[in-house]
Symmetry: C2
Subunit: 148 residues, 2 copies
């Protein structure tokens, strides 16, 4: 038996074949937040923020996308608002969130609802902060939501 | 100055007044998963599961609801399927999830996407398991999703 006849196998190959056959929206996903590569967030006003898409439109998620953010100590997301909401869970660390014009302390285990059109910003404290931030995959008028 | 003239004040009262004035969907929420009372899940097939609604339709969330589940050691959610998806994050502990007919090990930091109409069940291991489980607030045909 030569290399030509050795079929790829093992979990990664099985995952690849399963994904190739599955229909969008029908793919099971199990991914750990420590093992999905993160990319720098390059929006104006962001500093020291990295993001990993955990489940989103590319997986066929029909309604909402789950993203993992890692903010370095002293880093922050942009101060902005938009026409869709966030639901956020603080995985680790602590910091502040701007809501209704005031910065409020937040930390591990907090769930935060940021309504659509509310100005907001997440700032990490001295130990940094990790959080999940969920968005709808479409905005109110049906366009794709950025980062979903 | 007598008690009659003492107005309720402090953070709880301010929160109450803010909520009373706010419009549905416009309420900022910050809640910790350790401080929201949990209720037993009394569905057929569930054992040792408690749930707390963290953000849902009652808060005006327009698209998806975030719930916190605590499963005692050896406990499990119902083995079932339904016409809407789950996005899940394992907060602590470990266990197994039934997906595509097989039980797979899951633990802290795992994100799981359960597509609509996929049979699934969450089982806690010896240390129990805590997870966030998100659902859309309406099903595909526009009805309210149970537990949103």
């Amino acid at each position: 038996m030569t290399g030509l006849f050795v079929r790829a196998s093992g979990p990664a190959e099985r995952d690849r074949r399963r994904q190739a056959k599955a229909k969008p929206g029908c793919n099971v996903v199990i991914r750990n937040i420590d093992r999905v590569p993160e990319k720098p967030v390059e929006m104006d006003g962001a500093r020291g923020v990295r993001m990993a898409m955990m489940v989103g439109r590319a997986d066929g998620a029909p309604n909402f996308a789950l993203r993992h953010f890692r903010v370095e100590p002293g880093g922050h997301s942009p101060r902005h608002s938009h026409d869709y909401e966030h639901e956020v869970y603080i995985v680790a660390g602590s910091g502040e969130v701007l809501l209704e014009g005031a910065y409020r302390r937040i930390g591990q285990g907090d769930v935060i609802y940021v309504p659509a059109n509310s100005e907001h910003q997440f700032r990490a404290g001295d130990e940094g902060m990790r959080f999940l931030c969920l968005v709808p995959v479409t905005r109110n008028c049906g366009e794709p939501t950025p980062g979903s």
